[in-house]
């Protein structure tokens, strides 16, 4: 019996196994940020132990940081203290920190790949559920809780039950106007926000193989939104080309040696998965969510349904009530108040380019507040070099500084109660973007076009 990509990488990292219990899994790369790490550092400090392998942990400040005036002290006291705590903890324990003001600062799942810290075959964890993003490189990457952050800091290992495996194939040619965000929203709408729980997903098929690394990251990023712990894609030439010149990626002979190994990271033809799903790329259209979990998605010109899989009537109706919409209505042409282009799902340079392409030479609708939040300082620099910042600013958008921002509204970037936000982020939960906020999730292209028109718009009408 052959092995899956997941099995191969997992087995390479098992230090030991507890009978009828979890495996002890070695972690190659640990990413930390200000929100989910302080209590873990408290834990190791009270045990009077050191961080076991400080060179395997990288820190950044992203969740809590303001997206304006980052050169000034953070105004909000609790946020400032949390960021200061991270700085102090990293200093005390010799951990590399890309904090505010550093040229590498940014959203943890944007900087890992762009710095070449994320590599095929690694195990990568972070106290953030969207760590699944890094699976786009053929690594096993998943989010953990703070107790597990403490395990990694103290021993570079965590206790973890091996999940089941699921293969999701997308074959064929994508329609024009369909982006990787549409692919993942489509998959989640088909299997629900809990359809992947207990599984680790491998995405494969001809449509996936053609995608850029940025697009692959968007798909793997939202694996958690169907409940899967993570998602991964086998590394290939596109992966190697992306990694080649990245700051911390191997170079020269070292890279050639690595590529030889990375080429073995493929699922065997006779590998056995616990579940296999296949979809046709031709069936996928631009998508948008209408409800309060990412499984509640429809084609952008479709009517809002009267039920959803894995949702009771009571929960479904509660969701529509919260969103202020009705079954049978269409979201297309619905007036929106805010547009947020950003988050670890869609704040990379490719996302900003696809939004800027649509915006160029146009002006946003006067009633829409439109924010573009680049994922990192590197993305911000690239956007400025390409003149994208000017495209956004000329169109009336706010082009801000890097951070998680309105995706989870921990900083000042909040959507007011009752207002509609068309967002390129990953969660449309009640109050996610601020108490009482209402979120429609879609691709950067859909968000950009809708900011111009002032209502939910179909990119196919523009192309």
């Amino acid at each position: 019996m052959g092995k899956t990509l997941f099995d191969k990488v997992w087995e390479e990292h098992v230090v030991d196994s507890i009978p009828n219990g979890p495996d002890i899994l070695y972690i190659d790369k640990h990413l930390i940020h200000e929100v989910t790490s302080p209590q873990a550092f408290d834990g190791i400090n009270s045990r009077k132990i050191n961080v076991f392998r400080p060179d395997r942990t990288i820190a950044t400040a992203d969740h809590n940081v303001p997206t304006e005036n980052q050169h000034l002290p953070i105004k909000e006291e609790l946020s400032r203290k949390q960021v200061e705590k991270l700085t102090a903890n990293c200093k005390e324990h010799n951990i590399k920190l890309y904090g505010l003001g550093h040229k590498y600062q940014g959203i943890v799942h944007v900087i890992g790949p762009e710095l070449g810290l994320t590599q095929p075959g690694m195990t990568i964890v972070c106290g953030d559920s969207h760590t699944s993003t890094h699976g786009a490189f053929g690594s096993i990457a998943f989010g953990i809780g703070t107790s597990e952050v403490e395990m990694v800091l103290s021993t570079q290992c965590i206790l973890q039950n091996k999940p089941k495996t699921m293969r999701i194939e997308i074959n064929g040619e994508l329609n024009s106007g369909v982006y990787s965000k549409d692919i993942i929203l489509y998959i989640i709408s088909k299997i629900s926000a809990s359809g992947g729980t207990g599984y680790f997903v491998e995405y494969a098929g001809s449509a996936i193989e053609k995608l850029s690394m940025e697009s692959r990251m968007t798909i793997c990023n939202m694996s958690i939104e169907m409940g899967a712990r993570g998602g991964m894609i086998a590394p290939d030439e596109i992966t190697y080309k992306y990694l080649k010149d990245k700051e911390f990626a191997p170079k020269g002979i070292e890279l050639d040696k690595k590529i030889k190994y990375w080429n073995t990271l493929r699922s065997d033809a006779d590998a056995n998965y616990d579940k296999v799903l296949k979809f046709d790329a031709e069936d996928i259209q631009p998508m948008i969510t209408y409800g309060t979990n990412p499984g509640m998605g429809i084609k952008i010109d479709e009517e809002i349904p009267s039920s959803a899989i894995n949702s009771s009537k009571h929960s479904f109706e509660k969701s529509l009530r919260y969103m202020g919409i009705n079954s049978g209505d269409k979201l297309k042409n619905k007036k929106i108040d805010y547009v947020f282009i950003g988050s670890c799902t869609n704040s990379r340079i490719e996302d900003l380019r696809s939004a800027a392409d649509i915006i160029k030479g146009k002006t946003k609708s006067p009633h829409v507040h439109a924010w573009v939040i680049p994922g990192s300082k590197s993305v911000e620099r690239a956007a400025i070099n390409e003149g994208l910042d000017k495209v956004f600013i000329d169109a009336g958008f706010d082009f801000r500084q890097p951070g998680c921002s309105a995706c989870l509204a921990m900083n000042e970037d909040k959507i007011p109660k009752g207002k509609y936000c068309l967002s390129t982020s990953n969660r449309n939960f009640e109050g996610r973007q601020g108490p009482g906020s209402r979120t429609f999730l879609a691709s950067p292209a859909t968000a950009a076009l809708s900011a111009i028109s002032g209502h939910v718009s179909d990119v196919r009408d523009y192309l």
């Binding site: 070695y26 834990g43 108490p435």
Partner: protein, 196 residues
Amino acid sequence: MEKFVKLKSTITPLNIENIDTDQIIPARFLKAVSRDGFGENLFRDWRYCSDGNLNNDFILNSKPKNSKILLAGRNFGCGSSREHAAWAIHDYGFRVVISSFFADIFKNNALNNGLLVFELDENLIQKIFKKISNESNIEFETDLNEQKFYSLDGSIDEKFQINDYNKICLLKGYDNVDYLLSIKEKILKFENETGR
């Protein structure tokens, strides 16, 4: 970690599916740097109206006193990995959460904090919701050693599953970090053998 052996309590019913950790504890309350006090903001935006007044329709504001068992709809704890969700539930006073199905990260977080979570069949859960909607004061016993959950009136009596490792940790109050530190030699050996 706090031990869990046996618990007798009424149930707080929360018959909603897909309760995400943003509902359990909204992100704006994650700015603390200690583990304490999150219970105050448990289900904050469901417990309070937007004008700051208590929402009397929400179960936590009308539940039986001293209830330590939370019974929830399927896919409880989905979304963000924030362990603050498990801390908030524990800090509020719950010691057991039951659903037909939990999100993976939440389940680990709960068990790592002495909060017992286990699955029961969805049909049985609906039966319990119905039962306690008529008799909210009925008590249930959770016996971890026997892996049994039953109503004191004898009408419900079920076995539940938990893996041996988590069971022993909860029964004895063992700590995962202590365990991992105790096998440091194995970890060093692994690093050596794999060239890390």
